[in-house]
């Protein structure tokens, strides 16, 4: 039996799944149960003490969710993963393992508006202080490092404008600072970019977007790269120090290169509670089986739509890294050679009013606050996803008043272009 690495599409279909031992079911069953029966008292004690492999309660782990976790870990090239209720939940659980009250983390200024809100407002009440840096100026990350810095957070392809982040350059800053690099890989999916290959220590996703891919199920996931040494300097006590809630177990010592994923499960998910429904895990798993096919079509359609818009007289500018003229095109060629994703923005010469008019005239594009659906989507970020930011912050994050964001679906591209054409003409 030789050791060989199967291709991405094989892993997307098979990783983590096997026929059910009891029934022979080939599709992954939905284990829609809250709890699991113990063999005996000793088995129960072993499971509660993290000494044996197995299931206790769906807030800590579930067999359907476990298939999803292993599959995404395999696709990202990580050692382990933990699925949670949403992308936002993933971010809370990750930072809970890394930050104590009064600590800081550095985040790229170009992020999903919901993350900017979460970091700025919700995390403030936990005493987790975000320090913003500019992903287009790597030295701004270096300057932001202090003795209280515990992590750096970026998006691989950044919302809303689809800009590409130089992951390797920022991972160098993180390594020098002795902190883990967290990469939100939602808009790229591992089909386009595998951040661990470029120096990420932790990858998070909103599974709701391209991985699930059908706009039907919320979910989030945390992938442990197994690359970070948590034991140095007592900087990460959740990983390196004896845990009183587990009779003094030290997680890094016990679980080695997947200790971070275990910490997220047994200290984060167990105590904070954002468990993923097994039904949602099943829906997302089914979506992942076709990720390579869908993602390529998303990218090919997005490029065609971006090219059409770039040549249209009503359009002032198009921000799509797949266009050779784009500021991020070289980074896109390096990090995402299969395609620059399917979420991007453009601005209209007619400004805010023209944006509102376009959205109201479109027949195929749906006006809603999501991305990464099979269907094509459109939104005006300034009045929706990024509306809580002030005007200067809106422009800095790429969501100025004249900007329209598209998430290009997997319909026929000719129909998408025709829809935009009629809406722009109206």
């Amino acid at each position: 039996m030789s050791d060989r690495l199967p291709g991405f599409s094989t892993l997307a279909v098979h990783a983590g799944a096997q026929p059910d031992p009891t029934t022979g079911a080939r599709a992954t069953p939905i284990y829609q149960t809250t709890s699991f029966v113990f063999n005996d008292a000793d088995h129960a004690a072993s499971l509660f003490g993290l000494q044996a492999f197995g299931n206790i309660y769906t807030r800590i782990g579930n067999p359907t969710n476990a298939v999803l976790e292993e599959r995404v870990a395999a696709l990202e090239g990580g050692t382990a993963a933990l699925a949670v209720a949403s992308g936002h939940a993933a971010q809370v659980v990750v930072l809970q393992q890394l930050l104590q009250p009064g600590d800081e983390f550095i985040a790229a200024r170009k992020l999903y508006g919901g993350s900017i809100n979460q970091f700025t407002h919700a995390f403030k009440s936990f005493g987790w202080n975000v320090v913003w840096a500019d992903p287009d100026d790597i030295s701004s990350f270096e300057r932001a490092v202090t003795p209280r810095t515990k992590a750096i957070f970026i998006e691989s392809i950044a919302n809303p404008a689809g800009s590409i982040t130089d992951i390797e350059a920022i991972s160098t800053v993180a390594r020098k600072a002795g902190v883990p690099l967290i990469v939100d890989n939602t808009l790229a999916s591992p089909y386009l970019i595998r951040p661990i290959d470029h120096g990420a220590d932790i990858v998070v996703h909103s599974l709701t977007k391209f991985l699930g891919g059908h706009g039907n199920s919320l979910g989030g996931i945390i992938v442990d790269a197994g690359t970070f040494d948590w034991s140095t300097g007592g900087k990460y006590p959740m990983l390196s120090e004896p845990r009183p809630e587990y009779h003094g177990i030290r997680l890094q010592e016990t679980f080695g290169n997947f200790a971070f994923a275990i910490a997220c499960r047994v200290l984060g998910l167990r105590d904070l509670g954002p468990a993923l429904s097994p039904f949602n895990a099943f829906m997302i798993l089914t979506g992942i089986e076709t990720l390579p096919l869908r993602m390529q079509k998303h990218c090919d359609n997005a490029k065609a739509v971006a090219e059409f818009l770039a040549g249209h007289p009503a359009v002032a500018s198009v921000n799509y890294a797949g266009l050779p003229s784009d500021k991020y095109h070289q980074l896109a060629r390096k990090y995402a050679p299969r395609g620059a994703g399917a979420v991007f923005t453009f601005s209209l010469k007619g400004g805010y009013d023209a944006g509102v008019n376009l959205v109201s005239k479109l027949q195929l594009f749906s006006h809603l606050a999501n991305v990464g659906d099979t269907r094509s989507l459109v939104i005006h970020p300034a009045s929706t996803t990024h509306s809580q930011l002030d005007d200067a912050a809106k422009i800095k994050s790429g969501a100025g008043p004249d900007v329209v964001r598209l998430s290009v679906g997997i319909e026929d591209k000719e129909d998408l272009i025709a829809d935009l054409e009629q809406a722009l003409a109206a």
């Binding site: 892993l11 096997q18 298939v67 870990a73």
Partner: protein, 203 residues
Amino acid sequence: MSDNKKRQAMNHDAYPDNYIRGILNSVKSIAMVGASPVNVRPSYFAFKYLAQRGYDMIPVNPGHVGKELLGKPFVASLSDFGRPIDMIDIFRNSSHIMPVVEEALTLDPLPKVIWMQLGARDDAAAAKAESVGIKVVMNRCPKIEYGRLSSEISWMGVNSRTLSSKRPPAPTQGMRLSLNRMSVGGGDTAASDRAAKNKSEQS
């Protein structure tokens, strides 16, 4: 390829799955040096797990002679077994490995495998053992590796780096699990192996 060449090629930063699989499929008796009777220590639950999977386990710890670990009497040292042992699993810090390996090399017959626990690594001791034909594994946990290759560990969201389209037998308590799944090369966790290599080069 001769055995000698094979030994020279062993990369202790990233073991091929077949190497680990071959060891776990072939050894029957395992002496665990540093086994602890304290039930929250990793050595205790690795000992318990391997015993449940059918390995003939012997706890070695001079501080606990006269007591038992899960029904097996503690012995003081490797020379106190009075019978051949297939594998020595060392639950000691890196700085305490060499004397254990030196003692293991005085045994007749020699053990087939010396395994150093997660976090423990001594390349000089490894080279000494390999020079007399003993297979060495460092900085790994046999419980984790058994769980990974059988995919039992997948229940915790761990990437087993194996695939199988076969229907496994319905599990019963204490059964041996098949480790013969299709391996996906370890290449997909290369980032973790590279990080471990960088760390060992720096230290």
